[in-house]
Assembly symmetry: C2
């Protein structure tokens, strides 16, 4: 063969191989692995929905500590363990012992499932975290149907746990199982951490992660969590940061008992008046925090960063309507996103010890505890904030010359979290989203603190990715929680595409 | 007979009569009516205590709406009606029908007893108000003995209702009955209004007083209430005024549901921040009310009035200790009394709708209701105060440019009450106190509003006297409520002396 022809043939072969990989669109290419997978998932979607129906049917409520529900939760974990075993994974069902309740009663804790599938040293190892417990729900709370019977209306799958978090857990399992079904090699090693106490504070999880750091988690390269939502109904998102939180209690005490306002009103330094002055010194009417120094460490805003907010899909009018808020502090999308994600905020939550019931009680509370918290952003530091808050409150209080006793304590201190979006798994997730959804993802942060991300980040020092599947209106924790069939099915494809992209980038 | 001798004999006779009246002390005068009465009461004090024991034994709790207690209350009213009949009074037991409870249940209301004894047009008619219901009490709350078994320790008669108000009601009855026992003409016509729902808001009383204005109350000259306490343990008191009260609710609403501080913190005009600013604008750290105009109508302080506070028996050190208050807003007795009695005060009571439980909930309340009240003094006017408060809050709120909705409402509006202490019954009461206790009474006011005094004052336009019998440490409404045997017995004498003085002054 003419060497020229030979080179041409080689080039043609290479092109065909490339086409087979699904990287180029052409009139009729032979299906690539992702296309096969996508077709399989589409064809079997009713089976996937059926499995979700079976999982939703288990009332795995971890919040209400009653024996019947705890049994349901244990049953849920056993079902999941069996599902993972059928997938071919080796499953370690880690017993966490029992939970002591305040009344002296005790309840068994659900095990945490540590599962792994594949240990090819040439492949990256991705660890998926999810939870199978749910918030309480009963039809009488305002559900249109029984919350534990998955009910489909207009492509929406209503049911407790559908989006938080049973749907995303199953989407991950669907993606893994489909590789087997279409006889494709799973391009990544997969690990699972599935817990059953997330809604009740992830009892035992942090300790387990620490204990398993050098064992189960030793080979893990990436951690993926899919336990939040998009910012939009239709546009996928990647979450790359969460705010931290520092929660303060400020107690002002005159004496333990309350006073009668007729008998003592007029001669007391009233603790509640002191507290109202303290709380009133924290933030002005434009939302600006008045604690000296609080903004000192906030990361400066760059032009590049500004552009990222412009790209985010947020329909302000719809957001306002769905929030039922007449007017926000800010007028533009960019300002709103920045004040939810990259600037600190201070909220006053309430007062313990004052009169809080309906009616008109003439009481002067003897001891009151005000509660407020500051959402922290990069590069604020929890301990610095704690000092600033205490110094400020002491200043304000000392100016009142009150003989009452003030005590300030920080009861929660969570650092903000910000991922490096140039990490491989962020790049892989972006590409997978482009492939499956045909568009760029919203790059979003979460204004809340997500303790689970922080636990993995701090304990394992690995890259954590939050890749949500659910739409903004899924109603986690609310009545009529749902996941759209489209999100569930396309989400299963997204995870499969993510595996392929990870393998390429690794 | 020589006319001179005749005149001398007449003068001597007059002198003897005067001595017989007990107005002069002399080595061995024949006993006057009050002396006889005092001796009788001393001799029969155990019987009087025994009656109090029988009355305290009835658990006439009007606060807890349960059938068993309501039956006890009806039994108490029947016992009192019988007691008054045995006294010779004609008793009208006015049926008030039944009380509808929120649950749909209904309970019979105890009758109000309207009783009268004597209708001599030459005598003054004094109407005594008292109540026979009590606050709830059970030994487990911290009582040293069963609250419904009158228990005497060191001259203290412990039992629920002993001082509030069964003891004073019986002291009045003891005084009346003793005139009969020592065969003395009762120098006044006596009427009784005894109710059984005082601790539950005097259900039906105001309407009855209005309805009976031209009938039962037509001949009444004076109204006497003995349902409060002295300011001292030993020194008797006369109460000549109470503060009024205006109770405000200020609602700030963004939406009905709460927000999550992670998801919304930073972009909201938070209702609780608005409310804290509103409440913080009401009073400064020295207790001075900041509402413009609020002090305009406060009666100017005269030198004479100042002197009345000097005379009041109040041991500041003991007061501070028993109140468990380290430091009051003011240093002197006079300032403290004036700020409790003759200056308005503003107290913040609490907030409805905010987070009020233990723990650290990251909520932004969507709708909050602040509660505060102003104790009113002569010559403040409830409707003027209402306008001033609303205008002030609207001013403060408008400066915040908040899109939230503020609503201010005044839910209680009670005018202050001040008696004319030159009234006959005040003079008579002072003289009776001098006679029985050998000292001047403390002239006191009450910082609280006493609705019952206002009802009589406003409806009947008669002079109302508050003549307490109990000592400052009697513990009305508390555990271990008591009346001292000394207060109960000397109090019975005091009422008898009061009858005699009233008759003289009329």
């Amino acid at each position: 063969m003419d060497p020229k022809l030979g080179r041409m043939a080689s080039a043609l072969l290479a092109l065909l191989l490339l086409l087979d990989g699904g990287m180029l669109s052409s009139p009729a290419p032979p299906p690539g692995p992702l296309e096969k997978i996508g077709r399989y998932i589409d064809l079997h979607q009713d089976e996937f929905v059926q499995t979700l129906r079976e999982w939703v049917a288990v009332e795995s409520d971890s919040v209400q500590p009653v024996p019947r529900l705890r049994q349901e939760l244990l049953r849920m974990m056993a079902m999941a363990a069996e599902k993972l075993q059928r997938l071919g994974a080796s499953v370690d069902s880690v017993d966490l012992g029992s939970q002591q309740l305040p009344g002296g009663q005790s309840l068994p804790l659900p095990p945490i499932l540590l599962a792994e599938l594949g240990n090819d040293p040439r492949k990256p190892t991705v660890c998926f975290y999810g939870h199978l417990d749910v918030q309480p729900a009963k039809q009488g709370d305002g559900w249109l149907a029984d919350p534990y019977t998955l009910t489909e209306v207009d492509g929406k799958l209503y049911g407790r746990g559908a989006t938080d978090n049973k749907g995303p857990v199953l989407a991950w399992i669907n993606a893994v199982s489909t590789f087997g079904a279409v006889e494709q090699d799973l391009p990544v090693n997969v690990k699972f951490v599935l817990e059953g106490m997330e809604e009740a504070g992830s009892v035992g999880l942090e300790e387990l992660v620490r204990r398993e750091k050098e064992r189960f988690f030793a080979g893990v390269d990436y951690i993926l969590i899919s336990d939040n939502l998009w910012l939009s109904r239709k546009k996928p998102a990647l979450t790359y940061g969460t705010r931290g939180n520092s929660y303060f209690l400020v107690e002002v005490k005159c004496r333990t008992q309350d006073f009668h306002s007729g008998t003592f009103g007029g001669i007391l330094h009233e603790p509640l008046a002191d507290l109202v002055a303290l709380l009133g010194s924290l933030v002005d009417s434009s939302g600006h925090i008045l604690i000296p120094g609080i903004y000192d460490s906030v990361a400066p805003l760059t032009e590049d960063e500004k552009d990222t907010y412009k790209a985010v899909d947020l329909d302000l009018e719809e957001y306002r309507n769905s929030s039922q808020v007449e007017k926000f502090l800010f007028e533009t999308k960019e300002e709103i996103l920045m004040h939810l994600w990259r600037y600190p905020s201070l909220s006053i939550h309430g007062i313990e010890g004052a009169f809080d019931e309906p009616g008109a009680k003439t009481v002067i509370p003897g001891r009151v505890v005000g509660k407020f918290s500051i959402r922290l952003v990069p590069h604020m530091n929890v301990s610095v904030v704690e000092k600033q808050v205490k110094r400020h409150l002491e200043d304000v209080f000392s100016k009142r010359n009150s003989p009452n006793h003030m005590t300030v304590s920080m009861v929660v201190g969570l650092q903000p979290w910000l991922a490096n979006t140039d990490d491989n798994q962020y790049l892989a997730a972006k590409r997978a989203i482009r492939t499956v959804f045909g568009r760029e993802p919203d790059m979003i942060r979460d204004g809340s603190s997500i303790p689970i991300a922080k636990i993995f980040q701090d304990t394992l020092q690995k890259s954590v990715l939050m890749l949500p599947l659910g739409a903004v209106d899924d109603g986690e924790h609310s009545q009529n929680e749902k996941i759209n069939r489209w999100n569930y099915i396309e989400g299963s494809k997204l995870f499969a595409a993510f595996f392929l992209e990870m393998a390429k980038l690794h």
